[in-house]
Amino acid sequence: MADSICERVRSGSFEVVGRLDPPRNGNLSQLVALAASWKGKIGSVLVTDNASARLGGSALLTAERLGREGIEPILTVSCRDGNRIALGSTVLGAVAASLRTLLCVSGDHPAFGDHQDAKPVYDMDSVQLIAMVRNMEQGRDASGNELEPLPRFCLAAAACASADPLAPQLSKARKKVRAGVDIFVTLPVFRVDQLEPFLNGLGEISVKVIAGVLLPRYEEVVSYKDGSIPGTFIPHDLVEQWRAMDPGAFSSASADHVKRLVADLRSWGKVAGVCISAPGREDEILGIL
């Protein structure tokens, strides 16, 4: 297989990631076909793990399948739904499936999803998950038991660049760096300047930052208020603008906006790539590039 995303961003190439949510119908053919149509345009596919606390297909299985099709997946591993045993086992599964890149996240609270009474597990947090993976690479599981050392992963973590207050977010991001993360993927931003305080706050670090961008759905914008999409803050003037449009006009205006944003981020030079999310609008992602 070619270089992993870590190697690519380190060598200075601009990485384009597209997000796909494993479907709820147990049938991967559409997802695989879409990802295949991205080849050459999109470097890797972020496979979510029950995104937004909504039941989805198996992330591990989906990522494995994409890998077999010659598409580079990033496997999301969320602390919300499994304890240290389940997460450790997912990591071992990732090795077995030849997956090389993991995105380690705490995960949105079940209160946001479609199983609101589910037990929120959070036996580990994202910092501890990153540390566990690094320890497993050295031959120790989360409880200190010996195992065969694992090959080194490319580890990504999430960060909210528009967090308010920002200081605690930065302090946690630094902990993730110390725990051994290679890449940050930010939660979606809508303007380049939303990233500035976060990047300045992080200072000089070896970790590369990939900017998240989101092509929202019309209903999400209509019902938007700060907090309605976890970790995602749409500038209020943009919300007003979009809300004033009919769905058709919104659809092209928002796609144009994201297209410009991606181009701006590319020429800005301060981020190592973009991660494009477009739940429900995935087939528009190619048009954005």
Partner: protein
């Protein structure tokens, strides 16, 4: 203290089924303070049960008795005669008290009259809020006296998630984000080095078996080796 809430009347009535000699056992400590299961509430529930039975013209008697604490055998002992006359007991103590009562009088069915909610504080008149999940490994020294296990909706030990909304929790806009508060408190005390230290994994032995606490002076007497 332990905070509980009275169960809806219909639920208690239905649990009792056809039983006709009911003792309502109140507890004079935590549940009395949070107005869920003290002497007043026990008397009230007994009268409610009597009224409901009256309406159905049933032969029924409910009486109330309240002890200082149901989590102590010494006090539960005082209920012996009253329990002997009953064919069911409704305990208004917290879950621990209810169990201890049931354990002491194993021949009589004991039913819970409250839902035990949490360990918390009296925030204001009529308002109680949770503060501690009794995790058995208190982190408060590292977190500026604000509990990450309880006050963070995800119980995160290493800092905020990505969802904080203008200082509020992503789960509940009415509540402060615990980690925003912890950071602010530590900053104020010039102790931010505390949040830089990575927190180890939680020891969940507490959830795999009921805990025991033995006072050092009693080690010999209760030690299991």
């Amino acid at each position: 203290m332990i905070v509980a809430q009275r169960k809806p009347f219909a639920e208690i009535r239905d649990m009792l089924g056809g039983r006709s000699r009911v003792l309502v056992a109140g507890c004079g400590t935590c549940v009395a303070v949070c107005l869920a299961g003290g002497e007043k509430e026990a008397t009230l529930l007994a009268s409610q049960l009597m009224l409901a039975a009256d309406l159905q013209k049933r032969d029924f008697l409910a009486t109330a008795a309240t002890v200082e604490r149901q989590c102590d055998r010494e006090f539960l002992q005082l209920l012996r005669d009253r329990v002997a006359q009953a064919d069911a007991v409704v305990s208004l103590a917290c879950g621990a008290g209810i169990q201890f009562l049931a354990e002491m009088y194993p021949d009589v069915p004991v039913f819970p009259g409250v839902d035990t909610s949490f360990i918390g504080v009296a925030e204001d008149a009529g308002l109680w809020t949770e503060r501690c999940r009794s995790c058995n490994q208190c982190w408060l020294g590292m977190t500026g006296g604000i509990c990450p296990v309880t006050m963070c909706a995800k119980g995160l030990l290493n800092g905020p998630c990505s969802g904080t909304v203008h200082g509020k929790c992503e789960v509940d806009p009415e509540r402060e984000c615990a980690w925003a508060a912890i950071y602010e408190r530590l900053e104020r005390q010039s102790r931010l080095d505390m949040v830089d230290a990575p927190a180890p994994l939680m020891k969940h032995n507490r959830s795999t078996r009921p805990s025991r606490v033995i006072h050092p002076a009693y080690k010999k007497r209760f030690s299991i080796g």
